[in-house]
Symmetry: C2
Amino acid sequence: MRATTSPDLLALDRAAQDLLFRAARTANTFTDEPVTDAQVAAIHDLIRYGPTAYNGQPLRVLLLRSAAARARLLPHLSSSNRAKTASAPLVAVLAADVDFHERLPELYPHRPQARDWLADRATRVEQARFSATLQIGYLLVGVRAAGLAAGPMAGFDAAGVTREFFPDGRHEALLVMNVGRPGSGSWQDRLPRLPTEDVVQTL
Amino acid sequence: MRATTSPDLLALDRAAQDLLFRAARTANTFTDEPVTDAQVAAIHDLIRYGPTAYNGQPLRVLLLRSAAARARLLPHLSSSNRAKTASAPLVAVLAADVDFHERLPELYPHRPQARDWLADRATRVEQARFSATLQIGYLLVGVRAAGLAAGPMAGFDAAGVTREFFPDGRHEALLVMNVGRPGSGSWQDRLPRLPTEDVVQTL
């Protein structure tokens, strides 16, 4: 699809568009300013309204605030991600709760049988990963809505982080994300984005 | 984590918080008002700035505008999703391009070897699904940013939709989403959301 576009076709004002997407960037360095529990709670209180399959809300967030907890994470990161993670104001491990279905009678009360549809663990893992990843998308937007920068990192050993921080076997680590105010030299020029005609097709 | 929260801790103004999350709802009925290609392009132009692993941007969007295309979709939906999809102004199939790595030399030019890290198809499928799902999270926010309602549907046969619309073998359907202005009786009361103390833990 090739179409003329305009930010003015959006109901969201331009300042908010910039805050959340156009001017927001993945941060690689941070200032020392702390990210408080109250900020984290305000972000979660916003993004928890984002939709998930069966309203299952499988995302779980583990904040690594202690030096000991952070030290346990660093060996599981690619070497290029260690220094920035060691110095970020806040580091969060984002995981899916594979047993999210246990709460469906409460979260999806009009179809209590949904819990039984997810009795098979492999089905549940796939659903948990999908909805929790959607929620990570909302969370990234929410971090930016708080005026903070997110530093999501693909380069880490997910199985290792799962074993290290979720030995219960009911969670799967999906992403490690740094959060804070961007520091000096926090990013290079923005990388290219695909044009709409390469992404959107019409039948 | 249990913490006092306040929407005022966010930089995003309250009207935008409502538009994107607090007042926004998954729509089940729609008005007849069309969703134009220009609106779709404006939404994509906003959300394409959201981050993805290796800047790979694997999300692909197939708009089913013709009656014939929509008729091909309906048999793959759960029965409860058919009527609303038949009458929605716009129906989009959201898919991951499993061969997104082919464009990494252009999209991730400072590490052209990233394409070779993804030579293994199974690794690539996992990466494509993860980043495209993140992008679906951004897209849902973008639909709302356009003043429209999204109707994402978990109840569909993903393998069937993939075979029907992506016989090339390089795409995987992840979600079907209706888009439009909400019609009368578009939703019931909002389902409960998990409190922050059940989602966020601290180490």
